[in-house]
């Protein structure tokens, strides 16, 4: 079989904040190699995190303990409390560290860091740099990677983790997008630092395609909490050029949400708060209207400020006004179409306090993992997560690599992978061939409809059946049209298809099992939180090549729901 072989003590998969944080912390004595499916610093979600980095307890009453509680209350107590504890106890040195790498965060004239308060945080504790916080964080991390001279390969699509004959990690296999060549990297330890899998749903950008979660599962690791997909309620939906969220400010300044009949439909769902209801409630209400056939023409719902004086809108909503203006739309004159869109999958690969997975030699940190955020992630905890757990994963992978020699990757696994990709190239376009674009669209729409904001037993069962049908009947017909080796992005999309199908099935299965509503998981047939039966994580793993699922009691090690009487009494899925 024709492939190139290279070596690195530690391989890091990913190119965002978690990956770079991991790479920086492996240790200078080791040879570290970053493999990024895109381009380091440009790919991944980190550069687009506009909000903040929850790390600075500025208020004297605030501290790690409060941050810990806020994170659990938002996460519906499904979090791994040891991981949350690590998260909040490692915040203080993050800003000075990133600034030594070359970043700079916003301060007042006395040199004190400025902080923002995000929903669900009791105190303002998120540092920022204008609206480009994630970008500035990457500005720091990237420079440190350059300074340390860490090797990286851009556009290296890792498609499989390789084992030795004892089932330990021995390296990775990647498809090199620029040339179409196959590579095997022998390595002593591997860190998964890829994104989550929100791109299975209609995300505004599809960076999160589930690579890491799927590969970890296939390699023998456990994955959990993947029924919890976080939607942002009012994302730009139509017209297509405009992107990103239409922030809470739009509703806060008096904007209305209207259905196709021109009704302010929130009166049906939350007459007291109307448009200012909580995020999750707004998401559910919008989807209820759309489902009842009262949506806007392109599948969203109308958001309008046309009833407000144009002068007021321009003054109070300058960012949104300008954003639409750039695309030729005047929001003071016409309503826009918005819709809930997914942006974060709360679950992922199960790790312990050392960021280690079940598979010896495989570590993971950041958005690809489960446990830190439980059933619902707090805004601006994501950046904290990737820095802290990226670092822990890198450090421990380094330590593991030091104690170990190179192992030989299993030849069968390499051959299987090459065969799989070659078959995609060799398959001629035939009568029953289908192009990947069509299947992807169908999968995304299916996940959104039945495994999205509102779920019920019928829809979920239907989704599982359809996903299985696509897996067995449609996927085998997907055919590559463009057989070139150079920058073939079509083959990349085809290689991602199993991630979508398998994780889609697992997510729908977990959502069907969880007969309650909690955090981002809302079942209209079980609309209440059920702490008696469901303080449990749903965990998937492979056993003898078959996907298994089981529920596990959450270990309420430091805090339990009853420590917060008001929360415990309420059966609302949302905090």
């Amino acid at each position: 079989m024709n492939y190139k072989e290279i070596k690195a003590d530690v391989v890091i998969i990913g190119g965002g904040g978690a990956a770079l944080s991991a790479a920086i912390n492996v240790g200078k004595d080791l040879d570290t190699l970053i493999l990024d499916k895109g381009q380091v610093g440009k790919s991944g979600c980190s550069p687009n995190a506009h909000g903040g980095l929850a790390v600075h307890y500025k208020d004297p009453n605030d501290g790690p303990e409060i941050h810990f509680e806020d994170t659990l209350l938002s996460g519906g107590f499904l979090n791994n409390q040891d991981l949350v504890r690590i998260l909040v106890q490692n915040t203080s040195e993050i800003v000075p560290m990133l600034e030594r790498y070359g970043a700079l965060f916003d301060r007042d004239e006395h040199g004190n860091l400025l902080v923002r308060r995000f929903g669900g945080h009791r105190y303002a504790r998120s540092v920022f740099c204008g609206d480009e916080t994630g970008h500035e964080m990457m500005n720091g991390l990237r420079r440190e990677v350059y300074r340390l001279g860490i090797r990286y390969i851009d556009e290296a699509f890792v498609t499989r983790l390789l084992h030795d004959e004892n089932g330990e990690i021995a390296g990775v296999f990647f498809y090199y997008l620029p040339t179409g060549e196959f590579y095997v990297v022998k390595s002593k330890a591997v860190v998964l630092a890829t994104a989550d899998a929100a791109g299975l749903w209609p995300a505004a950008s599809e960076r999160q395609r589930g690579d890491g979660i799927y590969m970890a599962l296939m390699a023998g690791a456990e994955i959990a909490d993947i029924e919890f997909i976080q939607y942002h309620p009012t994302h730009a939906w139509w017209p297509p050029g405009v992107r990103g969220s239409v922030s809470e400010a739009f509703r806060g300044e008096g904007g209305w949400l209207l259905n196709s009949k021109g009704e302010r439909f929130m009166k049906r769902y939350d007459p007291e708060n109307m448009e200012l209801a909580t995020r999750d409630k707004v998401s559910v209400s919008i989807m209820m209207e759309i489902r009842a056939g009262r949506g806007a023409p392109h599948g969203g719902i109308f958001a309008s400020v046309t009833h407000l004086p144009a002068k007021y809108v321009k003054k109070r909503l300058p960012v949104i006004y300008q954003k639409y203006k750039n695309f030729g739309i005047d929001i003071t004159k016409e309503p826009i179409e918005v819709r809930p869109r997914p942006h974060y999958l709360c679950g992922g690969v199960v790790i312990d306090e050392n960021a280690a997975t079940k598979v010896p030699g495989l570590f993971a940190g950041g958005a690809v993992t489960a446990g830190v955020h439980g059933a619902n992630r707090l805004g601006s905890n994501a950046l904290t997560d990737i820095i802290v757990f990226g670092k822990i994963a890198g450090k421990n992978a380094g330590e593991f690599a030091r104690s170990r020699e190179y192992h030989s990757p299993n030849k069968n696994e390499i051959e299987e992978e090459i065969k799989r990709i070659k078959e995609i190239f060799d398959k001629p376009w035939g009568e029953d061939s289908i192009s990947i674009g069509k299947v992807r669209r169908e999968l995304i729409e299916l996940m959104d409809r039945d495994v999205g904001v509102i779920r019920n037993e019928t829809g979920l069962k239907d989704a599982i059946e359809k996903l299985n049908y696509i897996k067995h009947e449609i996927a085998p017909r997907v055919t590559l049209r463009d057989k070139s080796k150079t920058f073939n992005f079509e083959v990349k999309d085809i290689l991602e298809l199993p991630f979508r199908i398998e994780l889609g099935i697992a997510s729908a299965t977990a959502a069907l099992m969880r007969k309650e509503s909690r955090g981002t998981h809302f079942r209209e047939d079980y609309p209440h939180r059920d702490d008696e039966n469901w303080l449990k994580n749903i965990v998937f793993f492979l056993k003898d090549g078959e996907l298994k699922v089981e529920t596990r009691e959450v270990e309420l090690k430091y805090k339990k729901p009853t420590d917060f009487p008001e929360y415990a009494k309420s059966r609302s899925p949302w905090h």
């Binding site: 380091v40 550069p47 204008g130």
Partner: protein
């Protein structure tokens, strides 16, 4: 498809666009190909490219965030560098790779020079001690970080447009790098002499034509940073 958008069902017009395509495996030379695209209001170039992908036509292009933050989708659109994700689609548009770089395929160019340049110019703070911390920041510097330095998305559009530089230039690397040097010059923890570095890297070669500013998708003026560095050099030389 780099993102999901609802299917375009009722286009207001059918546009014809031209894309300069090149596949090193089959083509000796790049060549123009025309495509029909259903248009709806506010559609951008990236949606046209994604529409083609949906039809099974994979024109190779890089894209990631679609929110003008990652700088991946810079290309030459109607003769000018710009981001595909923020340039409104027009009938008859001509789309080609970013000029000045080696074309690898279709709209994908070789940008590996950027990482090398970062290392060559050592664009990270040279610390006085490994535990150095920022105590205070000049508010003007703070503002420039927020409004200029951290907003540069490194899309290389300015480098493509600059008449005074090209990626292989050893005389003047170009506007983006002046911005980067200025960034480090103003970083409170950097001790390296960046003015000297700017001087040695052709800061005087900027012609002040502001082509860079006219193409910058995030409306920065990287060439102004060359002017800023020059003023700083002069101030230092005359002992101000």
């Amino acid at each position: 498809m780099t993102a999901y958008i609802p299917e375009i069902k009722n286009p207001d017009a059918i546009y014809t666009i031209y894309i300069k395509r090149f596949n090193p495996e089959t083509d000796a030379e790049p060549h123009w190909v025309s495509y029909k695209i259903p248009h709806v209001k506010s559609m951008t170039v990236i949606e046209a490219l994604e529409y083609l992908q949906d039809q099974g036509i994979y024109v190779a292009f890089r894209a990631n965030c679609r929110e003008f933050t990652c700088g991946s989708c810079a290309m030459t659109i109607n003769g000018k560098p710009g981001l595909a994700c923020m340039t409104l689609l027009k009938d008859g548009m001509r789309i080609e790779p970013l000029r000045g770089y080696k074309v690898l395929r279709d709209l994908v160019v070789d940008t590996s020079f950027a990482g090398e340049k970062f290392r060559e110019l050592e664009l990270w703070p040279h610390l006085e001690n490994p535990e150095a911390r920022i105590e205070k920041v000049n508010m003007k510097v703070q503002e420039r970080y927020k409004n200029i330095y951290s907003r540069c998305i490194e899309c290389y559009s300015c480098l493509s447009a600059c008449p005074q530089s090209d990626p292989e230039s050893t005389v003047y690397p170009g506007p983006m790098w002046m911005l980067q040097i200025a960034r480090l010059h103003e970083h409170p923890l950097d001790t390296m002499n960046r003015l000297d570095q700017a001087d040695k890297n052709g800061v005087w070669n900027c012609a002040g034509c502001f082509e860079c500013a006219s193409v910058c998708p995030v409306k920065l003026s990287p060439g102004s940073l060359a002017s800023f560095l020059r003023r700083e050099i002069i101030k230092k030389e005359v002992g101000l």
